[in-house]
């Protein structure tokens, strides 16, 4: 490991007037994080290939004609980057307004926090602004898809595809404002290639994908994250050794996740680890 690290070149760039040294191959976002500069991201996932489509992480790079996405733009020696210029703030704010005016963000805590932080006013486009409208899809016992909450971050497609699961049950279909996540010909999940690993739920930043349990409890008004504790354990189904985080509310498991930074799972689980917890409640 040490030799590998030593072989990596360091490069120096300037972000918001501060010099920072990062490994070659790092992104501008890595440099920002190293400096503790808060940078909003929505489509970016720590365990996923950056697709740089949400454009909330844009920064101003001196010499570049347009703003650049910090999540995917590689840092280069001598770059001079501004993350808090008027131009950057305007762009981030308007992008959040475009999202907020077209998508239901009510279960997207990160996006809502950014909207607050950037003083975005999604209602500026008036009451007739077109919105993404889809019927809630409940076609199986394990999860619910509400694409009117989808910001098209591509994270679920990546998790279902080569980044994690290699199942390829979903892809982006349609074009422009009508683009949406879909199975082939919009068939139901049981008819599709889906294996119910739920890794799409794990990466969804807006609650467009949600376990049936969470969905039902939210419908009943009983879902209360403030009352939930997390118990860390190891999945007992097989020998892989996936870390499980059991989210417990009033003595019942209501959700199961795995930490992104876990060596074995990178946040992923299989259908048993993520959904096969009801036996615990059998007394």
């Amino acid at each position: 490991m040490t030799t590998l690290l030593a072989a990596k070149k360091m490069i120096e760039l300037t972000v918001d007037g501060q010099a920072v040294r990062v490994f070659e191959g790092s992104t501008i976002l890595d440099a920002c994080r190293q400096l503790g500069i808060e940078t909003p991201t929505l489509c970016y996932g720590d365990t996923l290939t950056p697709v740089n489509v949400c454009r909330v992480c844009v920064v101003e790079l001196e010499g570049a004609r347009t703003l650049v996405p910090s999540c995917s733009r590689r840092a280069e020696a001598g770059m001079v980057v501004h993350t808090d210029s008027e131009r950057v703030r305007t762009s981030r704010r308007l992008v959040l307004e475009l999202l907020g005016s077209s998508v239901d963000l009510s279960t997207a805590p990160e996006a809502l926090a950014y909207i607050d932080e950037y003083d975005a006013k999604p209602d500026r486009f008036g009451p007739d602004a077109a919105r993404v409208a889809h019927e809630v899809k409940i076609d199986n016992d394990l999860y619910v898809r509400d694409y009117s909450k989808c910001i098209l971050c591509y994270r679920c497609v990546e998790a279902c595809g080569v980044d994690h699961q290699n199942t390829f049950a979903i892809a982006v279909a349609g074009r422009g404002f009508d683009a949406h996540i879909s199975t082939e010909l919009d068939v139901t999940l049981p008819e599709s290639a889906c294996v119910y690993c739920g890794n799409c739920i794990a990466v969804c930043p807006t609650g467009a994908l949600m376990s049936k349990r969470e969905y039902d409890m939210r419908q009943d008004g009983t879902w209360d994250e403030s009352q939930q504790g997390v118990v860390t354990t190891v999945c007992a189904y097989c020998g892989v050794g996936c870390n499980l985080e059991l989210h417990v509310q009033e003595g019942e498991i209501v959700n199961v996740t795995s930490p992104d930074d876990h060596d074995v799972t990178s946040g992923n689980l299989c259908v048993k680890g993520r959904f096969g917890y009801r036996f615990v409640e059998t007394r």
Partner: protein
Amino acid sequence: MADLKLLDAPPSDAERVAIDAVLGAPPEENGHRTARADRASRHLLLPALRAAQRRVGWVSEGALGYASRRLSVPPAEAYGVASFYALLALEERPADVTHVCTDLSCALQGATVGLGEHSSPCLGLCERAPAKYRTVAGEAPFEEQLPAESPPLPQREGLRLLRRIADGVDPTSLDAYVAAGGFEALARARELGPDAVIAEVTESKLLGRGGAAFPTGTKWRAVRDQSEQTRYVVCNADESEPGTFKDRVLMESDPFALVEALTIAGFATGAQKGFVYIRAEYPLAHERVQRAIDATAAYRNGFEIELRVGAGAYVCGEETALFQSIEGKRGEPRNKPPFPVEVGLFGKPTAVNNVETLFNVLEVMRGDYSETRLFCVSGNVERPGLYELPLGVPLRALLDQAGAPSIKAVLLGGAAGAFVSPDMLDIELTHEATRAAGLTLGSGVVMVFDENADLIGALLRIAEFFRDESCGQCVPCRVGTVRQEEALKRLASGRRHDDELATLGELAQVMRDASICGLGQTAANAVESAIANLGVFA
């Protein structure tokens, strides 16, 4: 077969035969090794889907499933690709379909969509507007452009790029092309060697004619200098900028020249293969270019050229979206860097050149290059058509040549270009002069709107165009183009919000600043220029 979950519906015999004609007969045994080989053929997905639709008129579940099985493409991805292209139908429809152009030039000539006809963005037939494009599926499928007759060039003098067309050299005859001096440029290039060719192109200061005006020599040098030996050249003939038809005229009427020039590009950059990507709506160009490719193997010394045909997506004219399309994926532009000269088609170094740019290369190789530009003149003019002018001629002179007695506005550079007011007509048609005035030559569009023209209607059509053609990948463009159209509709109907113009300005700034590709970055140009130069909505 790989462990893909496939669609259940089988293809009809006709669909199977049509798809097999593109992919070859299916192998007897379909083990994992074959699946890997199938996956390597994913780039044939769009040709396979097109073949199925040409046979039965639409892409059925059976055809989609069969194409995904043959190519080992997950059905969800194949559906994502099929649903991306406007001309692919995923619901059954009649075999005979007419697409009526309702875009700017055709609207000026009173285009109307009849019962059962489909409205279409610009079909690139602006000099004979109003225009239609008809597709007929069946055992002997065909497509046609209407009106079918191509009018003669409106200009006879001072032509360089259009010389052979004006001289009436038979575009279907290799002998005629050779007799007109064809393949002399390629012979000279081979004498010079790749480096000297690139040096001459660089010295000529030839700039790309697709709209971005990048120096061609610099692009070729960058590809030549890559250590990766597998390289491609691609001719971008996906000409879809509303009001643009120059590349179509060149391909239809002088196709051998395109093949010769692309072969020179391949020779100079060290590429083994070239692709010509032509938009679907140009069937005569497909036929002529394919024939020219087939007839010229002896001149190409093993350099392979393959014709690819789009399926209705303006964004595929963006070079990285074009790669995605050839590779059998959704035409979503890639983020740059890395640039195509390093990571292009199939991840390999690639030089992408527009048709007109390649025609200029022939002139450079002939040794007496002097810069001219093609202008696609349409709208309210007496003599619409393709004009070729030396650089620096004032816009007014071109308009005089074309006959424009009444001018309310001129759209320069296409929907991604800008509106010019009547008091700006003395501007010289150069990159420098247009850029200084906040304009662009773009793809050479010069569209005239006379005193009776509906400018607001034109702006709404432009906004609709970008909203329709946005690939939907990035937020500023996907939602921004919708909000722009909504704001324009409110302005047009007098129901404006208080700060409507400020909102439009901010949308323009952010679409330009934060969109991934040129489509979103230019989607507000025409609207902004109409507000600034023409005083609309004042």
